[in-house]
Symmetry: C2
Subunit: 339 residues, 2 copies
DNA sequence: AAAAATAATGTAAGCGCTTACATTGTGCTT
DNA sequence: AAGCACAATGTAAGCGCTTACATTATTTTT
């Protein structure tokens, strides 16, 4: 029903008795206009309730000052904190953020990339590195800068700011091995098109190898993301013939689900079984026992990514292609020594 | 640096040896074009890596099929689930969602409203009812349908889908009074420009009044949103001369913070003090003791809001201006009888 | 087989804005 | 007071698309 004629630049111009060019300048370069006309134009704008038509502006000026971000999910807090920091930094530089989510689905992500590009995003923030060559080529052809986050991948020809998922998980696993655990289970997000999940599991395997623990003592259960999925996975994993003494979860949400299920089944943490997470979401310190996990520098990652992106889209040069951030182990109550 | 000439409709047309109109029709009304030309056009599109320029399209066609939503925060899960359902329903009807966040700040919300409108949002989803007349007038003048959610306000001349915050909290408070509590404290989000928080506190007061409990036995502590803020508030509230036997928190996040702090101080829940929340986020059933709270029908609210909005922007009529959803009490471990 | 109806395509105007360039106005200098 | 520099404003083209209308090709009807 939006068929009522909205005020346009021309309406404002007529009302203020100036040309459209002057109105446009008032909006974009106020100091090129004399104070008196500026006042006149400004009041015409408020009287008419005028808002510039973004589409028209982009079409004419060919710059949007918009950055797009596509995150796998908005359903939980994982990406929220980083995104918030990202947004704040963008805003500081005069950019607007457009957010979309992919539901962890590659084809939806591609669709969203196209959508954001067609909406004029000057640059894009993406999570992880796993995606088709086709889409990377598309973005390159369009000359749209991309920054990957949540991964540190100097091996790729892409800008990235993140941490080494493999190394981080390896560090945690080492700690676990130190505590005497040999019988280890993993609840991971689907690794198929999720390089972060894949790298994390890789880290576990690598630690086991270094400690000369056979891989067959490692049960891996893949599931999709969510509390309930974590709980469900726990049920399955706990039933394996040699019950694990520790369950490494690919992230805190899965861990929280596993913990809930353990409680429900009367299995004590960490006395009967240890559980660990990854990400250090707020919930990790709220659940009880508090969750041992890997702390990820969410805010720093978001902020750094924003800065790189701003530099890229404004044509400034960026020193490093890949920035590596450090993760830290958060040893809390949910992890204990093996009995 | 986005200065490379991108392929346009005209380029595609030339390559496929048809007119621009035909290309446009291929994209928008494929069945008006013969199969052979359609194939030719489509391959030209892929070869060129063409993506339509959204701005130009909007400018020419005057419809965006885009709905905007402004939520107070993305930092935690409160609005996430509802938003997800909202988005799914919109997508089903062929609409795209644009999300922005206001950080619970009225002036930022206004800014975001303007931004979304100028970007061509056909309709808007807003949270709560509290905002200036000016902005409501602006939207009305622009003929942009608005749906409010998280509130049920048949008293306003706005579409809304939500629940009665006052009533819901009153119900919970009644339950608490039944359990013998008289000494009640409240940790609420700032009520200043948050009608939901305000209504919830109102519900508490109303229940107390009905039970003939004097209002001065009610300590209210206002704080901003967050786990840490909840914890901090707990410290303060616990120190009042007559220690409350129950703390009603305005939402689950504040409650989670309060619980964390209680544990830290060795105060047992619910033996020493009861704590309740509101919203029934996932964390409510994960913390231990599990949190007594008010369940909010997040997904239904999101879906209903989307349907109304789609009807409104497509000019169909909508039966009811306000839809009232029911909340339910979730009595869990964190609430016990007064000793 | 010609006429009529219909399908497929083309032509060109115009959406609301920015901006290069042209014009006019103002205050200095001499 | 004429001449000049510079500030303020205006003129008009064009950004990439959609769509009303015009034209041409194809099918159906008689």
């Amino acid at each position: 029903m939006k068929n009522q004629a909205l005020p346009t630049l021309a309406d404002v111009a007529k009302r203020a008795k100036v040309s459209t060019a002057t109105v446009s300048r008032c909006l974009n370069f106020p100091d090129q206009v004399s104070a008196s006309t500026r006042d006149r134009v400004m009041s015409a704008i408020t009287e008419l309730g005028y808002t510039p038509n973004f589409g028209a502006r982009v079409l004419a000026a060919k710059r949007t000052n918009t950055i797009g971000a596509i995150i796998p999910t908005m359903e939980n807090a994982i990406f929220a904190r980083g995104l918030q920091a990202f947004q704040e930094e963008l805003k500081y530089h005069g950019f607007t953020l457009l957010v979309a989510s992919s539901s962890y689905r590659e084809e939806i992500e591609e669709e969203q990339i196209h959508k954001l590009v067609s909406r004029g995003a000057d640059g894009l923030l993406l999570i992880g590195a796993h995606r088709s060559d086709k889409i990377y080529k598309f973005l390159e052809q369009r000359n749209i800068p991309v920054v990957l986050s949540w991964v540190f991948r100097p091996d790729l020809n892409q800008y990235s700011v993140g941490f080494d998922n493999c190394e981080a998980m390896k560090e945690l696993t080492n700690k676990i091995i130190d505590l005497g655990h040999k019988n280890i289970a993993v609840i991971s997000a689907s690794m198929h098109n999720n390089d972060r999940a894949y790298q994390r599991v890789l880290g576990i395997k690598s630690a086991l190898k270094d400690a000369n623990i056979e891989e067959q003592s490692l049960t891996i259960y893949e599931t999709s993301y969510g509390i309930d999925e974590g709980a469900e996975a726990f049920k399955k994993v706990i039933k394996t013939k040699t019950r694990p003494t520790v369950i490494l979860c690919g992230n805190d949400v899965l861990a929280a689900g596993a913990m809930r299920q353990a409680k429900k089944m009367g299995i004590r943490i960490p006395q009967d079984i240890s559980i660990t997470g990854f990400d250090d979401l707020q919930l990790a310190s709220i659940v009880s026992p508090s969750l041992t996990t890997v702390h990820v520098p969410h805010r720093k990652m978001g902020k750094d990514a924003a800065q790189i992106l701003v530099n890229l889209v404004t044509g400034r040069k960026v020193k490093e292609k890949s920035i590596k951030l450090e993760t830290t182990l958060c040893i809390r109550e949910s992890l204990g020594p093996v009995k």
